[in-house]
Every structure is written in structure tokens, then in C-alpha cells.
Symmetry: C2
Subunit: 336 residues, 2 copies
């Protein structure tokens, strides 16, 4: 029996300090500013509009947390923050963290009532529109949000593009495609494939801009629709990334059933997500993501690979498998 | 040059998820309940008043984060959470984290305006009383807060008790003593010493109960006073733990000066704190604590060992040194 240790308890319990420090740095565009060139304390304090009382502590905290470097009194980005947190780079993931800063941080303050009632704690609880209505209402915010989603899922998208046996198939649809990065990566790595992005009509211009910029407009097209009211595209492979976790069990099963109907015999459904490990004891990110679905949605939850396999089997898929992709993400493949 | 990595950015940016999950678990007394005996999901959901929608995700997230264990479907505390987070044990540190949950989490949502204005964002910003008036107003909350402070600083207190050359001194005072654990540890390890706890009068009963429970009432006494208006006790050694960081530079220097006046020639001042490393690039906790002083106080800030040594030298101390204690804490010793 090991000795009791307090460090991890305090570090996690006060972990919102480090979290909010990074989120405020993104909000104040520290990394975008430093992507221009390294700057000393005084210059940076002025450029960022910081008050001198705590600007040095703030920037040095970012150094100690590993998000900035400081050499000879000049602050600069790390390789990672320069790539992912400079607003002017296509690899910027800050949009998602901006949303975490503006919305989720304060909604999570109500985690206890959420756990006691099972009810969401976002704009809906405040009498506002639901999550997707909020995001889709403003075209500029929608574009930033979808771009951030692409940046965050890019690694997993590339893994699916290279690891799935695409040679066996000719057509693929991505349901809830957003900006379309998954389809773009799959199409770039597999020149014989044609793809269809399926999402709400508001997404069309954002998807089409992105696909055109990748030179894929001839092979990758958008099809507007709602997966609640419309049938899914009839393709050899159907993909759903970070979609099922938004919904309750009934809707999850309905969507898997719709995919089954749309696929030909031998066709494949790929579901991918921050999948919880089957023992539900390792993938903390997947479990916390599920609590985020409690905060954000009326019935959404994350799930294990085994859960998804059983829903696929119930829908009629004759063969299923789980494959780890990258970080917390795994995919479940079902063959009709 | 290494490849850009997104994991640490997302893990920290969304770190408030894990943080708030632990804080809600403390608020709902998960660990106090499980200290009674291990329990299965259904029993625990009922006992804690959780809604079934997310109770399993919540408890399994605590497993994946390393704060609970689950065996054969029964949840139990880890050695560390049983020791530090069971409300019925004297080693409970949850009081401090309860305060973080009730107060600091939401005040830190205003970190950006704090950094732009240099102004605190706690009850004061909401038109309420200042930090200490709030804490001292309710005797029960004050007791819990001071008990939590003891539990958190216990390791550093024990290090000071064993490492400082106490054989050279006969009397010691602890300024801002709170419950008095530092003095208690020092007195227990050094039977030749007599000690004086100095703090506001409201603290007296809490201090005296604690000292009496340790059987030290004959050697360790309380002296009520304010370090703003009263002189400090005239003892061979004066200690100030987690005190100076609450105040601005002028008050820091004033307190060090008062200690210098009160000490005899050869006497020692011990200042201890989550001291920032001299390069201000390693001790993230100390730097974040300084941002917490921005949120909580009009002028407080944390500082390096070298900063404190220079203030001591300016006050007249002829010899100073910094010694690491435990975790993020170090002490600075000044000899008159």
C-alpha cells in the first residue's frame, strides 16, 4: 500500500487555473501576436493590452506550462503553439478552445446540478436556443467552429484515410461532414474514390470552399439534408465522426439503422469518436466528453467500442471491429 | 525541431473538465461516502442523489482520472483520496477545494478582464466584502478553511520543523498562524522551544483547540493582533507562511521590516510560500498562484526566492538563503 499523495488531488482540483490561463491567452491572441516575431515583456504587454500588474506572471506561467518559450528576455511561441494557436494558420485549433472559453467554462460551473438532474446546462437552460441552433445561427462563427473541428480531428481523419481498406470500395459518404476534412483526407489518399458530404444546408458554402481549395471539387460533392428527415446517401461506405455521441440511444440506433438501409451488401459503416475503452477505466477524455454531452445536450453520451458494436449487430451488420486511430479516438467498422 | 503536438494544448485547454469533475465529486461527498465502504453503481447513485443519466460516466471518469478504483462493479477510494478527501478524517483537504469550487472557479472565468485591468474579480468586484472579511465572517467556515490550510501545508510544515537548525533558538512566533499547524509541528519536533501564534482574534478558539488536542498548550500560546497595527512578538525566530503573497510590495517590505525590528541580533525570519523559481520558468503552480492573487487581492503577488532575499537584505538582514521544502514550496531564511 503506497503512501497517500496530495499532489495530484491539488493539481487537478486547481487545474482550472492552468486551463483558464491558456484559454485567456488564446482569447487575447498571445500566440497570433508572437507568430509575427518574438517580443520582450514591455512590447508584448502593450501590444496585447495587458495591465502591467500581472502581465509578467501571466506570460511566465505560459512559459512554465510549456506553451511559450523565453530567451534573453524575449517571448516566443513553441513549435506546437505556433502551429495550432496562430489564428492566421489553417492549422489553428483555437476556435474550438475559444468556444470552450466563452461557453463551456461557465456552463461546467453547473456540473453538480447537471449530475443531480440529468439536464443540460448550456444556453437551453438559460432559455436560449439549443447547441446546434446557436452554432449554426452566425455564418462567420459557424465557419470558425467547423474549421476548428477540422483541425482537431485532422490526425484521426488522416489515420482513417490511410488504414481503412479503401481499395475495396468506390463511393463514400460522410454524414455530419462539417467542413469535410475527413472526406478530403480520404479522397486525397485514394484517387479512385468519389465522396459525398452530407450536412445541413448552412454548411454547403464552407464545405465547398474547403473542397475546392484542395482541388477535389470534381470528386467530392455536398448534399444538403437532415439525417432526421432525409435518407442517407447510397454509397459503398458511410462515415459518422463525432456525430453519434450528440444523441440519445434511440437516435443513435436510428442513425445506425439508416446507414444500414443505405449501404449495399458488403458496404461498410465507419463510426469514429473519442471512444471510451471497454473497461471504462482508461480513456478519461472520452468519459469527460460524455459529461460534456450532459452539459450540452438533452440525451447525448459517449460510449465504448463494444456498445457501438452491439448496436451495429442489432441493426443487422454481420461483422464489426474496433480499431484505435490516434490519441483518444477509435473507429468502429461494421460490414453489412 | 520536433513536430507540432496538439495533445497538451487540448488537455490543458479542456483541463477544466477534469478539474470541475473532481470538485463536484468533493462537493457531493463521493469520497466521504466511499470511505464508509465500497459500493456498486446503483447504491452509490442513490446515496449521492445522482441522476442515473450520467452517474456511471461521472464515477468512471473519476476512475480513469485515478481518484477512484472499481473492482467487480464496486467503487472504492484510492489510498490518497481516502486520506485527503474523506470529510471525517483530520487529513481532509477538501475545505480548500470546496472554496475553489464555490468561489474561485467562477471568479477565474474573469481572468481576461483581470489581466486587462489589474483588478481583483472576487466578491469585491461584485460589491461584497474583501477576501479575508468573507472568510472570517462565519466561524464554522473559518474553522473549515483553516483546517484545510493546515492539511495542505502540513508537508511543508513538517519539513521546516525538521530541517531548520532549531537547536540554536529558544522562542518562535508564527505570524498569520491560522490553526497553528506550523507551530505545532515545530514544537513537537523540538521540545526545548516555546511558540506564539499571532493572528486576528477570531482565530483564537480554533488555534487553541488544535494546540490543546496536540498536548502543547503549556508551550504554545496564542496572541491576538493585527500585523498592520500591532508590533510582532519578540521571539528568536519569526515565521510567515503563505502570508506575504497576499499583499503588495509596500506591505511585503513593511512586514519584513517589522520582523527585523522584533528579532534579536542573530534571530531568524523564515518566509515560506509556493516560491517561484528564480528563472520564473519552472514552478507553474507558483506563477498560477500569483494570478490567483490577482483574482483575489488588490495588490498581492507571488515572488521568487531571489526577490525575497533582496527585500530582506534591504531591511537589514545580514545573511539570507533559500531552501526547497516539498512540492512547490520553498523557504527563505534571513538572519539579523
Amino acid at each position: 500500500m503506497s503512501a497517500p499523495e496530495i499532489d495530484r488531488i491539488l493539481q487537478t482540483g486547481l487545474g482550472f487555473w492552468a486551463s483558464k490561463t491558456l484559454l485567456s491567452a488564446i482569447e487575447m491572441e498571445v500566440f497570433t501576436e508572437l507568430a509575427r516575431h518574438p517580443q520582450d515583456l514591455e512590447t508584448l504587454t502593450g501590444r496585447l493590452g495587458l495591465h502591467p500588474r500581472s502581465s509578467r506572471d501571466f506570460l511566465d506561467a505560459l512559459v512554465a506550462l510549456g506553451f511559450l518559450e523565453r530567451r534573453d528576455g524575449k517571448y516566443s511561441n513553441t513549435v506546437s503553439t505556433d502551429f495550432f494557436l496562430d489564428k492566421h494558420k489553417p492549422s489553428y485549433v483555437g476556435g474550438m478552445l475559444e468556444m470552450a472559453n466563452h461557453r463551456l467554462y461557465r456552463f461546467w460551473n453547473n456540473l453538480t446540478p447537471a449530475l443531480r438532474t440529468g439536464l443540460p446546462q448550456n444556453e437551453v437552460a438559460e432559455g436560449g436556443r439549443d447547441l446546434f441552433a446557436t452554432i449554426y445561427a452566425d455564418p462567420q462563427r459557424l465557419k470558425e467552429f467547423l474549421r476548428a473541428m477540422s483541425a482537431i480531428s485532422h490526425g484521426a481523419n488522416a489515420a482513417i484515410a490511410s488504414r481503412f481498406p479503401w481499395a475495396n470500395y468506390k463511393t463514400v459518404a460522410d454524414v455530419g461532414t462539417a467542413q469535410g476534412d475527413l472526406l478530403v483526407q480520404v479522397a486525397l489518399a485514394n484517387p479512385h474514390l468519389s465522396g459525398t458530404g452530407f450536412d445541413l444546408p448552412e454548411v454547403a458554402p464552407i464545405f465547398e470552399d474547403y473542397v475546392e481549395a484542395q482541388g477535389l471539387s470534381s470528386r467530392v460533392v455536398f448534399r444538403p439534408g437532415s439525417f432526421f428527415t432525409d435518407p442517407l446517401p447510397r454509397t459503398d461506405v458511410i462515415m459518422m465522426g463525432h456525430v453519434l455521441h450528440d444523441w440519445n440511444l434511440e437516435t443513435k440506433r436510428m442513425l445506425i439503422g439508416k446507414a444500414f438501409e443505405a449501404l449495399p451488401l458488403g458496404g461498410a459503416l465507419i463510426v469514429y469518436e473519442a471512444m471510451i475503452d471497454d473497461d471504462r477505466s482508461q480513456n478519461a477524455f472520452g468519459l469527460l466528453m460524455s459529461l460534456n454531452m450532459l452539459i450540452e445536450t438533452p440525451g447525448g453520451f459517449d460510449y465504448t467500442g463494444a456498445d457501438c458494436q452491439s448496436w451495429m449487430a442489432d441493426a443487422g451488420f454481420r461483422e464489426t471491429r474496433v480499431e484505435h486511430l490516434i490519441g483518444p479516438d477509435s473507429m468502429v467498422v461494421g460490414i453489412k
